[in-house]
């Protein structure tokens, strides 16, 4: 499964959320990450996040796709995304 994650959380928790998300996904832009993930890892990511966020004022959105091939990405400026080479 391929997911795109966007979050809008209180300033106090931004760094914490990013820290967790980075273990599973590739950082694209502020508050936006994406990457290939398994169902079980996705559950773990959500479990980790739910310990940090305050559900009354924070929100995290996941867009789920069966594969990377099922959507198109278009860039303006620098091309960002998970890399095989570094």
């Amino acid at each position: 499964m391929y997911i795109i994650m966007a979050y809008d959380v209180n300033e106090k928790r931004v760094a914490k959320v990013l820290k967790i998300a980075r273990k599973y996904l590739t950082w694209i832009q502020n508050s936006l990450l994406e990457g290939e993930i398994t169902e079980s890892k996705f559950e773990r990511l959500k479990a980790e996040l739910s310990k940090i966020i305050d559900e009354s004022e924070d929100s995290v959105v996941f867009y789920k796709f069966g594969s990377e091939k099922l959507f198109q990405k278009e860039f303006m400026g620098e091309k960002l995304g998970p890399k095989l080479f570094m």
């Binding site: 599973y24 996904l25 290939e36 998970p82 095989l84 080479f85």
Partner: protein
Amino acid sequence: MKPLYLFSSGRLERKNNTISFVSENEERKYIPVENLTEIYIFGEVDLNKRVLEFLTEKEITLHFFNYYGYYVGSYYPREHYNSSYVLTKQVEKYLNPTERLKIAKKFLIGATKNMLRNIKEYSEKIQQLSDFELSIESLFRKILDAEDIEQLMGIEANIRQTYYETFDLIVDTSNLSFEKRTKRPPENELNALISFGNSLLYTAVLSQIYQTHLDPRIGYLHTNNHRRFTLNLDIAEVFKPVLVDRTIFTLLNRKQITKKDFVKGMNGVFLAESGKKTFVQEFHNRLETSIYSEKLKRNVSYRSLIRIEVYKLERHIIDDQEYQPFVRK
């Protein structure tokens, strides 16, 4: 689950409970550790014990290659699927000459069938291939009669030699040459590709063995020599024609790799960085390609198929089910 190929030079660090790579110009990139299975290091990379400890915890293998693309070694974290039962069984099969020969033959049978499959794919277009096909088929019959490992290795060498001779017919070698297989160092471009591809496959198989109970030090076809992993070499034999050789055919026939992707040095010919990257990308794509598995009754990637192959061998070793090597349909 993805590997990472590090071509740049820099520093690998543990940072914020994940892995990060700091390039020479101090630019930091994060790598999602939960999604990582292995790291291939081609550049000049510094790393410390903290990273190794973390990689051990996350069960990630590291493979090092030198400037020429030669395999240097691997960081194989401590076994996490320890099973003294499987280990003793594995050794028992190795020490028993009949049992060892039986397994070794299976690898060679799989390898040869996959080689023949490659040749057949091109034999309609290229008439001269049928002679090679016949001679490999006759050598193939000798495998079953081999009485010991030495004989088997001899047959293997003959099969490979005949098989590699077909490469000049299969690939467009108008600007490359390939007279005979040479190693350490490879003397021409095609040999450089075979050597590089094989070492990529050896490490890919090693990373899969790590996810099972088997010990990579005990191989059956290749003799154990106190310091080297050998089981991955055995299993790689079955997959070389399917993964490495077909990658080479594709890259050369599409002219994605040409003479300019090679460099001369150390009395041999080696892949330049551009060539290495193109090769790795195509090899990776092939590993990610899925095919139908009879065993699982669903589509799996070639990478998973290697794992399934290790499991099949494990079943054989614990006397559960006889091992039948993978043969491409």
